[in-house]
Symmetry: C2
DNA sequence: CTGAAAGCGCTAACAC
DNA sequence: GTGTTAGCGCTTTCAG
């Protein structure tokens, strides 16, 4: 194995000089930098991270924390692989690597995170979910470990950095888009009401409807295992003469579409549909879904960038919320009303 | 930070003794082991991995290599998140962590793998795809880096350890299952013919049909962007009076189902459908799919276990192919013929 | 069965 | 600008 010493010998300098060149230290003359770099290249030198870690206390590794898998289906959402992939790619550019924490429950998750922290395996974390009173957040906060959260702020807004889309604005835009297409009787449909995402999007729907002076309806639940809820949805559609649905996400939309077909409601002929995420599901079957692209690549890139800034900053950085723009992808599920 | 020295002092022994206790070295008396362990617990000692790595050369970290994302949709398959999650969980049990390599092309991928290897960040790799003449495999082989592959053997069978299902047997079982249900005119449908998986499953179909003396049809392609291929599929179904389709996977099946509905063919009333993977897609819309569960948890566990054996073994271990059993999940897409 | 001591490869004051 | 010199925390011969 070729070490810093070999390089130093070959370049005729001291090991510490080589170390400085590695860090592109400004107090080394260009001339010796060139000489040392040449020696490195000639010898095929690659720094040993373990040694670097031990000496510097930095790991050049970040931890990526997935949501607890109580609902295993959740991980089937393409979002997670997408963001994993963009974060890893981005990290490579910065010479960082990525390690994973994933488990069934928050308790096991916090154990993993704790271990990674205590063993000094990572310099910081990116968390891919946000829950109130999350023990993982609590632990990292208590131990001054840098971290950012991808998702909707949910408490701690002033202590934690969040990276997210503007879900309210997105839902509001959905209303406006449908209105432009001639729709006025619009319903908001979701499969759960607790999450920040669902609440924010519902709020955006309300705002949009209010601004356009349209008749607002409380959020409709879609639970494929609950007949009364399903019944209620159909009733409301008829009663309100709804011509368009804003649905919480791609996956749910596919299910809703099939559900509607059981009642002979065709999308988009009888009813239009607009949704969020632009995942692989939106092009699974026809009609392909008109959907908001949440720009996962950008979410991933921003979260890693910001985390590295926090890690590298000597003084604690102020928390902030970073908003990533979205775009509307028009496909086949919305039709223009005359 | 509490170090091995603090523990040694507290327990009244030499640091090297503490180190030995950490490794559960057999030459330490039970008495001192107990004493040292108590000291560790009291002080809340956690070994510093960087120091361990540097001194021992081991990292207690494995690399997980995802397929190149030329076809980004591929990562939408729930398989990848599932196996990522089982491997990480399993690794934690063994006190290992997991790092990720994922990128757009094999060339970038091999760069990442190379870096992880040269920097000595990992002790070995698990590769989640197999391609002929894959540069990643080549590199690891050339550099004596331990690794295993999850997927179908595709060359190098004698040098590399594979973990996979028996895809031939699975497809053969599909034929037999359909036959029991009264089906005789059975077609095999896939979205691509090149991969080992698709070839193996097709071979299994052929074997099964042959054994039952049924009429075999060449593999049918399903390409949603190619009208002539689609046309051909429908023609063949009519011509052969097919009553059942064996389809390469869940995702494709959902698309095929919708395609069939355009021609007024209902599943399972007019035509039955059996498929593979048992991912979230198989319960996305009705009829829920009858599908083979490939037992991802087992694939993940076996691959990690085996990799650790290879890593820990002083002498090179013989390569082998590990077959993980599958199970059939009966749902709604196959009906019994009278 | 346990202790002593020499590193593992690199970093970071501190000199000059 | 560059060299000197202690370590970082742990492992691993080698003694005894």
């Amino acid at each position: 194995m070729v070490t810093i010493k070999d390089v130093a010998a070959k370049a005729g300098v001291n090991p510490s000089t080589v170390s400085r060149v590695l860090k592109d230290n400004s107090s080394i003359s260009q001339k010796t930098k060139d000489r040392v770099r040449k020696a490195m290249a000639d010898l095929g030198y690659v720094p040993n991270v373990a040694a670097q870690m031990l000496a510097s206390g930095l790991t050049y590794n970040v931890g990526l924390v997935f949501p607890p898998l109580l609902t295993p289906d959740r991980l089937s959402e393409p979002f997670f692989m997408q963001i994993l992939s963009t974060i890893t790619t981005e990290a490579k550019q910065e010479n960082f690597t990525v390690s994973i924490a994933t488990d069934m429950t928050v308790d096991e998750l916090v154990e993993q995170v704790k271990l990674m922290h205590l063993q000094k395996r990572v310099d910081g974390f990116i968390i891919l979910y946000s829950e109130k009173d999350d023990p993982v957040q609590r632990y990292l906060l208590d131990n001054d470990m840098p971290f950012v959260i991808v998702g909707a702020p949910d408490g701690f807004e002033n202590e934690i950095t969040y990276i997210d889309n503007d879900n309210q604005l997105m839902a509001k835009s959905a209303v406006e888009y449908l209105y432009e297409k001639g729709h006025k009787n619009i319903l908001f449909v979701t499969d759960e009401l607790e999450s920040e995402i669902s609440q924010e999007r519902y709020l955006g729907y309300m705002k949009g409807m209010m601004k356009l002076k349209l008749d607002r309806t409380p959020a409709m639940l879609f639970d494929r295992h609950n007949p009364v809820v399903l019944e209620k949805l159909i009733e409301t559609i008829e009663e309100k003469k709804a011509t368009a649905l804003i649905i919480i996400g791609d996956t749910v939309s596919v299910r809703v579409m099939q559900f509607l077909s059981f009642y002979d409601l065709k999308v988009p002929d009888d009813i239009s549909l607009i949704t969020f995420n632009n995942s692989a599901f939106s092009k699974l079957i026809h009609p392909y879904l008109t959907t908001f692209d949440i720009n996962v690549a950008n979410l991933g890139r921003s979260s890693l960038r910001r985390l590295l800034e926090i890690i590298k900053s000597p003084a604690p950085l102020p928390s902030e919320t970073i908003i990533v723009p979205f775009t509307l992808v028009e496909r086949e599920s919305v039709r223009r009303l005359k």
